[in-house]
Symmetry: C2
Amino acid sequence: MRQAGRSLPEYFDVRGDGSILDAIRVPDRATEITLQPVRRYGVDAAILFSDIVTPVWAVGFGIDITPGVGPTCDRPFRSADDLQRLRPLDLDADLGFQTETVRNLVAELDVPLIGFAGAPFTLASYLIEGRPSRDYAKCKALMMGQPELWHQLCERLADLAIGTLTAQVEAGASAIQLFDSWAGALRPEHYREYVFPHSSRILSAMGDLGVPRIHFGINTGELLPQIAEAGADVVGVDWRTRLSDARERTGGTVALQGNLDPALLLAPWPVLEREVRRVLDDNGGHPGHIFNLGHGVLPQTDPDQVKRVVELVHDIGRAGR
Amino acid sequence: MRQAGRSLPEYFDVRGDGSILDAIRVPDRATEITLQPVRRYGVDAAILFSDIVTPVWAVGFGIDITPGVGPTCDRPFRSADDLQRLRPLDLDADLGFQTETVRNLVAELDVPLIGFAGAPFTLASYLIEGRPSRDYAKCKALMMGQPELWHQLCERLADLAIGTLTAQVEAGASAIQLFDSWAGALRPEHYREYVFPHSSRILSAMGDLGVPRIHFGINTGELLPQIAEAGADVVGVDWRTRLSDARERTGGTVALQGNLDPALLLAPWPVLEREVRRVLDDNGGHPGHIFNLGHGVLPQTDPDQVKRVVELVHDIGRAGR
């Protein structure tokens, strides 16, 4: 469960105020924050505490994470000149803190560590819009109006993703997750033309490293076949699409991850229990399912609710469903 | 094209600053604003200038439309006591201005006028959240945690929708559109249990009046069968779902409306032209298609781009596709 930490009091104790990047770039803090939800919830894997913009930030594009807003750029990506602000990664100099965090974690954890990166569409949307967007209007206008520049941008972003993921795997991460959280804003033909080649290149490079690859987005009901085809071993399914439908659309070739609506963690326990069982029942006992939320934990979530869900899923799993 | 006006300079001349409700409640202004896009673009129908919150505002719930934000409530809906703030409509006293606007329009227009209302889920989301939401967390928590109260709220909202729509039809509107813009935030089982009965009741009442019924939402790819089944003659399809897929999911029982991505109006004309043709080609010449955007016109849209799209669609239509 990504961002599981942000509903935990112990998270805010360690993280402090200011940009989340101030916690990400300090290995001791990032290590501790990664461990917190594993300790509290007993989940089956840890996910590195970082952010999808970390590599873009590390090469000095000029991006920050503004508390209460999200990723923001003072000078958004506008023209070919801005490509220079996305130079190749120097893994040691730029992401040494992350490598150290991963090594610390692998030494401490007795569950697998999942590394991750942002996919080109989602990152490009922040770079072009300069902040979170509802309509991706500037992003799509550049994508459709200047396709060469769009592809150049995505190539650089794919290189950054391959760089950070490779570093994480080499430092000991057991699996990787590629977050294309907002790709569901595109129709299938546009995804195919403008996004698929880049995400596919990243996932293919990870396949060469031999690690399992999870490919995640929300609102991706119509894109699931392509998201699977791009090279995923596991496809994230938000709560809108039933697992049974997702299984059909992906042709049974991949495992699925999801798909509880995170808002349900705010419902009373009997409702939440019913809904967890609904997801598992809809999965029909298929072994290729990683139970998870369909998106990040909402900040106002009561950690005890998360804990009960983890216990319930473990109980049902042990009972041999 | 709903909200077509908000990219027009003549709209801002008439509307002035302040809440959009100040323009909606003055028949001469609302009439003029409704006519503007018809005059400028030569579209085949007009849609009443109003807002989905108009009836809720008119009965004194305490809702406004804050410029740059959207619908806001100082005292959001929290408990059964708040039901009292949703008294039944007195059509003449509460919505007399709207009836006058519709009568004016029907007298002036030589194309059909489409009336509309907000559907219970989308309205409830504003009333409960108190403002536009990304996650509908409070709304879903109330829906799942207090289902009786949820259904009582939706019954009142359905009554308001039936009231305003009936008044619009009796004053001369030729068709109605039910906007459940945000219903796509729900998974199919939840839509069925918490939303379908209420939207279905509204659409059934409109069927009794004998007017064509358009049922619209975005992100509704997984809900299309139910949105059709709720009683629509026409189902809106945003740009994420291809018309060919939507046709399959709705079993060919309804006409479809859409499905150009509004962001494409910001792309250069050759791209926009290609994309309009893509939508029409995907429709495959099926007669049950109302060409439209998949969602509202973005404010930064150049009106000339809209005009060219209308002309292109008309040209292709006349050529007998």
